[in-house]
Every structure is written in C-alpha cells, then in structure tokens.
Amino acid sequence: MATHGHAHGHELQRTWELAPSDVVHSALRWIRSLGAGRRTPMLVGVVLFVLGVVAILAFPLRQGFADRQAWTYVAVAFLYLMSTAAAAPALSTALRVARSHWRRPVNRASEIWAVTLIIPFLLYLLLLPTFPGTEDRLSIWFGWPLSPWLWGALLMLALTGTGYLFAWFSSLPDLAIVRDHGSPAQRGLAAWLSRGWIGSHRQWRMYEKVVNNIGVLYVLVYVPVMTVLASDFIIALIPGYFTAVFPAYFTITSFQAGIALTIVTMAVLRRWGGQADYLGREQFWALGKLLLAFSLLWFYFWWSEFIIFWYGRTPREINVLKLLVGETYRWPFILSFAMNFALPLLILMWNPIRRSIAGPTVVACIVLVGNLIDRIRLTSAAFSQPDSALLGHAHELHEVPAAYVPGLSDLLILVGMIAGALTLVLWATRYLPFPSVAEVVGGLWLRSHKPFKHARLIVIGKPE
C-alpha cells in the first residue's frame, strides 16, 4: 500500500478550472434537454405511486384506523422518506455552515429532495388517527391535550414548510435563469417563483444570509421532529422500551441515510445527467469520509443502548432485546447491522476506495437499503402492539409478539411512496438546473492551480 507519485491530491478537479460561462452553458443545456430520458421514469413513477395510493385505499384504509398493524408499511414508507429525503437538505446546511467549498456542486443534489416533503406530510396525516390519545399511555407528550395529533401535525407542517422555503430560496438565482432562458412551458412557474430577482449586490448578500438561516432553521426543526417521531412511532408503541438514546440514534442514522442518498443522487447525475465535470472524486471522497464517520456512529448509538439493556437485565429489558435484536427481528437486525455499519466500515476504511467514485456510491446504495431494513424492523416491531398493550401506562412487554411479514399490498405501498418521491424530484429537475449556477460560479475563484517553484499547487481561498 505504498503511496506513489503525486497521490496526495495535487490535481485540481476540472470544475474549478471552468469559466463561469461554461457553468452557465451546462445549466442551460440541462434545462433545455428535457425529453424522453426523464419522461419514461416519471411515467413509471406515477404509475407505481398511483398503485401505492390504491393499495393504501384498498387495504389499511378499508381495515380502518383502529387496526394499527395494517398501517405498518405506510409508517415504514413515511419513516423511510423522513430518514432519507428529509435528511438530505440538512446535510446541505451542515456543509454550508462548515464553509467547505468543495460542497458547492453538491448542495443542489441534496436540497432538491426537500420537494418530496409533501408525501411524508400527507402520510403522517393519514397515520395520526391510528394512534390512541396520550392520556392513558406512556408518551413523550405526557397526556398533553390533543397530543399527539395536533402538535405532531404542527411540527410536521413546520418542517414541510421550512423545507419548501429552503428549496425555493436556495434555488432563487437559478430559477431566474430558467425564467429568462427556459422554454415557455418552464417559464411560468419559474417566473412566478423568481419574481423580483435581478441579481443585485444587495440581493446576493441577502441571498447568502437567508439561505444559511433557513437551512439552519430546517435542521433546528428537523431534529425535534425526528425526536418526536422516534418517540411516537417506536418508543411509545413498545411497552417497556425505555431508552433516551433512541431518538438520537434515529436522527443520526437518518443523517447517515441522507448522506447516502446524496451520494447516490450524485452518482446518478454523473452517469446520466452529464454532471461529470462538477461531481468528481473530490466530492465523492469528502462525502465518503462523512459516510464512514456516520456508519461508525450508527454502531456507537446502537451499542450505547444495547450495552445498558444487556447489563440491566431486567425482564423488560430482556424482552425488548428479544423483540428488536435477539429473536423476533433477528435477521432484519443482522442485515441492518451489516449494511449500516459492518460493510461500510470494511469497505470505506481503505483510502483508495474512499477516494474513488464507485466506492462511496456502492456503500451509499448498501446504506440506503440497510436503513430501509432498519426502519422496517423498528416499525414492524412497534406497530404489532394493539392499543390494549399500551393503555394503562403499560410498563413491560409481557409477550414478545411474532414478526410481521409484509404482504403484496405492503410492498406496493412502500414502493409506490418511494416512487412518488422520486417522481417529484424528477419533476423538480425541470425547474432546477444542474449544476447550481449560483453555487458553482460563486466558488470558481476560490480554487486554482498555482505553480510554486517545481511544484504545482492547489490553492484554496478562505474568504471568510
């Protein structure tokens, strides 16, 4: 494993040697090339989504809200979208706040997922009636009036609203490009969304501040929302599951999935979206490191809970471990352990793999599947308890329930909702050009090649 030659990254990614006009051309090419390439997958997506909606109407809804187990896969779809699509914009903010400029071509790829938030929001509204009130059961609302229904819905509404605002503001300057140069079909919406944007000095200064602040606000709403969801959907539905770290586990692993989703989006854009100039090894490497770190955190947060239960050994802790780890959902757990932690660690610990494009992409795909399996494990376990097991402030899981095996309708719901989210993203790409001109052009002058004696250096500007 010797390092040879100039392996230490003394090569500058092509992105930073482009002229601003090149970037604008790429973006224009993007908005003008809307054609069959995207139409077919969108069509498939719409069909699958409609099938999913029909499946929801035909199965859980017909069963009624009282039978919570019938809603298991609606909840899985909801939580999975919250863990992936809703987490991606938070990554975008984190990278912005950290002032790392390699992120500039990446932001759009993670922010665009905010447009899917309407689907989890609607799913959440559908799921709310399946929960009993909190007066007579343990919950993080402590019997507060109208909980969890009203307050949970308000939180989700805040998140959805902030997400759309974030997606809108961060793409304002690019929407103006579509407004001025797009086809008449695109212009309408873009013009409406980018009213008044002329790119004045004042507007740019406002833009940077506002995007930063809305992004931070999004994270500040996202974390409590995930805390509440982890509590309402999982902890409160499993009697005796007394764990304070679980909401943190749920949130951190969602960030992990959000990173994975961004990496996969980047890989797709690179392969089929003509973004090879913008999304290169630099971005995959950096996000690969982040994905590795979060895969380690997956283990850390899981272990923090496990070791306490394993040492506590009270009957209720043993039963929870049997349900989630040891017996009922043993195989989903093992798969989730392997795909969220073991495989990412074993693959990404090697620097040459981290520094490639394929390496992080493959691991990101593994993590996306692993996260889904993890959410299936947790949700299935939680949704298999009838109300009677929860009421009266039940403190212990007296009987470990059998595993819930999904049927065809469950799979249709899951696939349909994910397809719906993908369709929304594909639709949004009509209005949001790749690369993001505002981001990339704003960073072009911050990186350059400079000859220094016999070396050719990469110089990185630190404007802040």
Binding site: M1, H6, Y311, R456
Partner: protein, 179 residues
Amino acid sequence: MAIREVLGLYRDLDSAVAAADALREAGFSRSEFEVLSNAPYPEGTFGEESGIHRLFVFPLIGAACGFAAGLLITGGTQLSFPLLTGGKPLLSIPPMIIIMYEGTMLGALIFTVLGVLFESRLPWIGRALYDPRITQGYIGILVRTAPEREAKAIEALRKANPEDILTENGNVGKQPARS
C-alpha cells in the same frame, strides 16, 4: 570513507531551489542530495519525488496485535476462573468487545508512532553535516556522493549564491579560493 558529504546553506527559498537545479544539471540524481529546512514546504517544491513509504502498514499490524492481546486477556481471565457474576454468561462478549476495542486502538496508535519514527529514520545518532542555522530558517542542501565528485558538487552549489558551503574538512566558503 567512500561517501563524501557537502552541505550548502541558502538564505532563501529561491536560491535553494536554484541550487537543487544546478545539482541536477551537474548530473546529480535526486537520491544523492536532500533538502533540510525548518518547516515543510509544499510537496514538490524542490522537484522531489514523493518517496515510497509503508507507513500505512504499521497501524494495521499494531491493531492486529492489540486486538489479539485484548482477546487473550478478556477471554483468558473469564475462562480460567469461571465465576458467575450478575447473571451474565461465563464468557460475556459485550464487555470483551470494549476492552478489545481499546487494545486495538492502543496497538494501532503505538505502531503508527513507531512507523513514523522508522520511516523518518529516527532516532538518528549517526554523524552527518548539519548546521544550526537550518532551524533558523536557512535551507540546507546536503549532497552525499563519491569523493571524486565532491568538487563538482561544491561547484554546483556555489552557482546558486550560497551563504556557506561546508564539507567534512570544514567550511570551504561561498567563492572558490583564488590561487
């Protein structure tokens, strides 16, 4: 001694780079001279190749040793004195993992530092030409070559406006002695 050393001292970066160039023009290969400085310059400044090293092997070996030690201590002490505590299994794996983890990391850390020292050839107690002015900010260019090429090396080093040129026989000055 079959190898002779010559050390040229330069006040600034430009003349040091020029000296390295002069040496290369005079037919000295890059392995025959090294650049001494008081802080790193960007890699490749003096036209050096980044050398081959095996530093990344060290932490792996250390980690393996530490892991094995942790496994032996935790597994061994539990099995050789089987005492049931707190209703836990006689061979309790979760606590073993914690100590094995620390052992692995300790091994990796110690071996990495050993590797850094080994790859930097430290500690180094041999004798070689050196001048304290190097840590003051002067750049030293140390040539190691056959005795018959020593004069050629001095000549090359002189081309780049040196502050001083030291040989094993003492300071030979920046200009050739007038005869």
